[in-house]
Amino acid sequence: MKKWKTALVWAAFVGVFVLLLRLTSPAPLPREDFSLLLQEMETGGIAEVRIHDNEITVTRWDDSQYVTLGVITEELSQQLSAAGIRVAWGPPSDKLRTVLLVGVPLVLLLGLFGWFLRRGAAGNMNLLEIRKSRARLLGESLSVGFDDVGGCLEAKEQLSDLVDFLRLPERWSRAGVRLPRGVLLEGPPGCGKTLLARAVAGETNAKFYWVSASEFVELFVGVGAARVRDMFETAEKNAPAVIFIDELDAVGRKRGSGIGAGHDEREQTLNQILVCLDGFEASDRVVVIAATNRSDVLDPALLRPGRFDRRIRVEPLTRVQRVDVLRIHCRNKALSEDVSLESIADRCPEWSGAALENLVNESGLLAVRRSRKEQDDGPVELVQLDFERALEPGLSEEQRFDAVDSLLVEATTQLAQAVGKALVRVTLAGFTTIEGELVWADANFIKVRTRGQDEALVLGKSQIQSIEALDGTELLDEFSPDPWSGNTPDLA
């Protein structure tokens, strides 16, 4: 396709060349003897003669032309007129050719430079585009309801007012009450603030605009405010709508704080948010939900009545609520009979909803991996063991090397104290095992003398997968890496 385009452009260029060459230097007319003119004058085949100096261009009735050299005398001129032939003087002029000569290249160049302009304009479009809000409209398929939110009972209770307002605004306006248009969700990371906001949108079928406060700020000053305006305008156009501003503290920090304490871009953005919050008419079914886990640093103006005046604290989950959350996240997964979500909830005290969701997902991953290993093509079922394993703190690569490290430090100490021989079994990254006497260990490598060998084997520490003590030291405990981590260290 692209190659064809290139070939096409080349063909066009060659075509332009040929066309313009034809126009600038047209094919020369055939030259004939002067006698032919005289002869044809007699026989009457000539329509016009054009005389320019001694060059005579003859046009026949059938539009064919030729050029001849000669001098037209007074007498001959009269003869020509008598024969009904038009006689013209001056250089041959071809109006069409003149028009084409200037017109064709002009049109081509205008087209080309028009194309340049459009290409340039396409580059400038980014500047206008940058003023657009980055708020994403959440698709219907991702919408959730309050049923999908485990725990957070108090928050749900308070938000249900909002839901009702978005559904049946008349009821509230008839009663003459003003509803909070800004709701601030506070709570530790991962406690379900975003999920709650989505649930509000899901419960009401309102449009859900989701933006992180840090997305307002860009390279250019003023963009933040422009984006806030754009976001609110878009939401108003598509009411009922829920605007969700995540991590509000990114722009909502107390004004006048920070370096210079002056008027900066962040404050300008914040001012615009404040103005836009005020600007809603009572009929506007737009609700702003903001989330933060640093409500203590927020600007007081954000929290005054009429703005984010409804502050909802999302509390840590109780045990019963954790079971609820686990159950919600297990809804789309097959659970084995032996799974006790209660016992799992017991083992994750103070865990946030996000952590629980991650736990369930992790267990699912382990279950899929297990069934793949067992080559079981049936539906994957999560068993209690999967959860147990997911709960086990797996050893990361770093932790494993730390463990090898501490073993070696101990071994070195022992060697220095000359307690005796330390027999070890070293498993390398490629699962080669070496058994022998540990004669040297330091921060970078160890030396192991295998049985019957004089030379000790030098092993780089990064090659070592695990070390096991065989004899001679109690300090070298067995160390084996996490069987589920699965990957071998690929350090060179």
Partner: protein
Amino acid sequence: MDFFGDAWLASRVLVLVPVVLSLSVHEFAHAFCAFRLGDDTAARQGRLTLNPLAHIDPVGLLLPLLGVPFGWARPVPIDPSRMRGASLEAGIVLTAAAGPLSNVLLAIGATLAMGVWTRLDAGAAAAAGPLWQLLEWLVLVNLLLAVFNLIPVPPLDGSRIVDGLCPAWLRPHWEAFARVGPFALVALLLVPALLGVSPIAGPVAGLQNFLDALYDVVAG
């Protein structure tokens, strides 16, 4: 050819056609060489193409139309540090040399085409149809481009070749010169033009003689 009167614009656009096509080949050669050496900077910006539209520069195109006998295409960006196929210096030299080399090859190709054409049709040269004239223009334009770009004055390709080959002890002098390169180039172009001579006429004439001989051999 009539460069005045009715045909002034048409003539200039006419001459631009072989120039733009040759420049496209020139810039493509830079991009292609860099790409083969492992640097896809130009390719990712859509410059690894023979399509003239990707290479032409509005101002570089406008000046020749206004009668200034000087124009240019958008330079192909390269990043020698991405080249794996050659050392940094070799990468710069090869990529820089690829442009003029491609023009020489194109001139030779056009000459061969004309020679073969003459062999097939003895009257082609005398008839001098549009395509024949395009080939003639291509030969001349490519020779001029190749020789001109090899002038070792920044920002021309020749300077990059010198840049890559410059020994360390000469480098300070070379870089001092490179700083005033563009001015030196203007002087180099203007002064001979005012005196009515051309600094590249000699090499171009030499190459033309070679190509004439080549044409004669092929045409028989």
